[in-house]
Amino acid sequence: MASAQTQRSAIDWTSFIALALTTAGGSMRAGTCGMTRPAQLPESEFEASLISRIAEGDESAFTALYQRFSASLYGMAFRMMNDAKEAEDVLQEGFTYIWRKAASYDSSRSSPFAWAVMIVRNKAIDRLRVRQRLERLRDKVTTEGSFHQEKDETSADEPTLRERGALVRSALQQIPEEQRQALELCFFGGLTHAQIAERLATPLGTIKARIRRGLLRLRECLNEEL
């Protein structure tokens, strides 16, 4: 990751903007949106440029970012809310926040996708807490929770997402079961460390260690896979 960051910072922004305006071809993270990424520009850089343009009120950049992130975020929201309508509401709230707060995005702190994930996840947690569905969701997560068994409803023109999903699932397979469970309860269940400790009747320190180690291991595995 550190080397990737170094490469990103070496981008010539002048040529990047020129390419972004003139290049019609190139791959996309997802979908067939008309907003294309310059071939030689990393996806993360392109997505960061979209957020910059959103901050300036560029509606086409907003639509492009939506088309790149919405399938994953909508799937994540559905997994958390277990309700399509509520997942759509969460997605709408999350993208409304992105439209309004794009100027607050700091590329040195987060990648665009991680930033968007944390926003939508927080919106989902807010709703879960308000509607007091946490208990029902926890049961569902612990009984059904598996990173392999999700039903893929995306269209065939989103191979990148499926590839990334497979990559992360593969990385998760290399993580001990108890760490994976703690990560899952934390990410999709929206539970705090203390709530997970209570839920699993395990000391808080142990839960903290499981989540920390799980994340470290996941990071290593993803780096190896990439």
């Binding site: 939506y66 994930v117 699932r169």
Partner: protein, 279 residues
Amino acid sequence: MIDEAKQDLLVQYLLGELDPATADQVRAELARDVELREFARDFEEAFASLAYTASPMAPPRELPQRILQAERRARRSTLPAPYSKIIWLTMPWALAACLAIVCAVLSLEQTRIRKDLISLQEQNKEASKALISLQEKNTEASRALVALQQKIAQSERDLAALKEKNVLSELKIATLKAQIAAYKGATAVVVWDKEQKKGVLQLDKLPPPGQGKDYQLWVIDSKKPQPVSAGILSVPNDGLIRTSFHPAVPVESADAFAISVEKAGGAPKPEGQIILVGK
């Protein structure tokens, strides 16, 4: 190298589990420490990658437009109101501001009027004092006037007395004495006004002049060669005569008076016997 305790703290920070004060400390440390920031970014990246494990789902295609339309509506509602609306919205404030200004002006005016009133009251006091002083002076002047009038009256009285004295000084009184024994009992007095050149004669116990005769009064002026006739005297039965007289011609100085017996009707110059003479 970032220790495990700090890593735990970072995880809790990323998951929003820290209290605000501790979160601020971590945020400050992240701003200072590049290595810690890189580590946190990798942590968040790994955590967010879990989103890929959820099956992607076809999102509502119209959602971006729905969001943007809602934002446009929200923005319009926060845009400045039309001019007329602004007027209606600001009118009460403008009126309040005007009222405040008017109140301030009136307050200043009231203060000014109070000062003027105090000044006028002081002037009135001064004027009252001056009036009292003038009234006192007037009283004094009235007194002085009365005193002066009294003096004038006294002066007028003195003047009148002086005039009276002067009149007397202008009069000449002459007692005529009988020149013949037959007329010794008769008395005659002449009062002559030098100023008026006229006189008054009083005769008593004068016997009748006789048949064909009249008494005639003469004024003797030393500057004239002949006595000047002052008229015929009619003697009543009781012999008392009081009459005023004027010389027949003007005289400058009445040095003496005389009565003579002349033929009836008188004479232009003395021809008969002089019976009474006096200076």
